[in-house]
Amino acid sequence: MSDFANQVERLRPQLLRFARTQLRNDAWAEDAVSETVLAALERPGSFTGQSHLKTWLVGILKHKVVDQLRRHTREATVLMGEDDEDFDEALFQADGHWRDMPRDWGDPDAACSQRQFFEVLQACCEGLPPVQARVFMMREWLELEADEICSELEITSSNLWVLLHRARLRLRDCLQVRWFDSAVTR
């Protein structure tokens, strides 16, 4: 195997992890990563070496992930009713007030400068229900606009907002429990 092929192969597990978080389906994730590796090996010359190899591969992977979602549109969104109807109920009283005061998370830089924080964030994303995870990752990681996500997944914009709303509240809850509440023991 060439040196280039070796380097690409070494990054495969990391690519697979991202693809899995994104697609929430192992077979699709494997396909997206294989297509990425193949594309890289077919055109090694297009890697100019100005960015990290990983950055370049992730750039390709993003397109392959969107291709997979496009290919599996129906299956990707069939679980619209996956979530308990109202996560909001747990957060708010009947009169619309917060049940519990949102906590002070302190200085954002303090959290963002810690490597383990990203591990927790990724684990929290992996813990989202699959459709919520997909739309959240499309929005935040693939940086797609809301209307692009709606057309890729064939959902309405109000469906999308509901999904993103739930995803963000769940992430908030997860970060509270898995990062901020456990700060004392860290």
């Binding site: 992730v58 619309g96 954002p108 990203f118 990681w141 999308l160 907002w161």
Partner: protein
């Protein structure tokens, strides 16, 4: 006069603000609510942290770090 927003409604608008352009009147109502509501100010700070964190995470996983 219209009733002012509840925390629950304010939270919904704050979250939608991440993904769509709020209307002028939504934005105004929201600003008024957040100005007087300490709990929602906390929530705004949490959202800001999450936004910063996802941006940093994206850079991190796009390969800006070597791992």
């Amino acid at each position: 006069m219209k009733n002012s927003l509840t925390c629950r409604e304010a939270t919904r608008l704050l979250l939608e603000d991440e993904d769509r352009e709020l209307t002028t009147s939504e934005r105004l109502e929201l600003q008024v609510h957040v100005k007087i509501c300490f709990a929602c100010q906390r929530f705004v700070a949490q959202l800001n942290l999450m936004r910063r964190a996802t941006r940093a995470w994206r850079k991190h996983s796009d390969g800006d770090s070597e791992t």
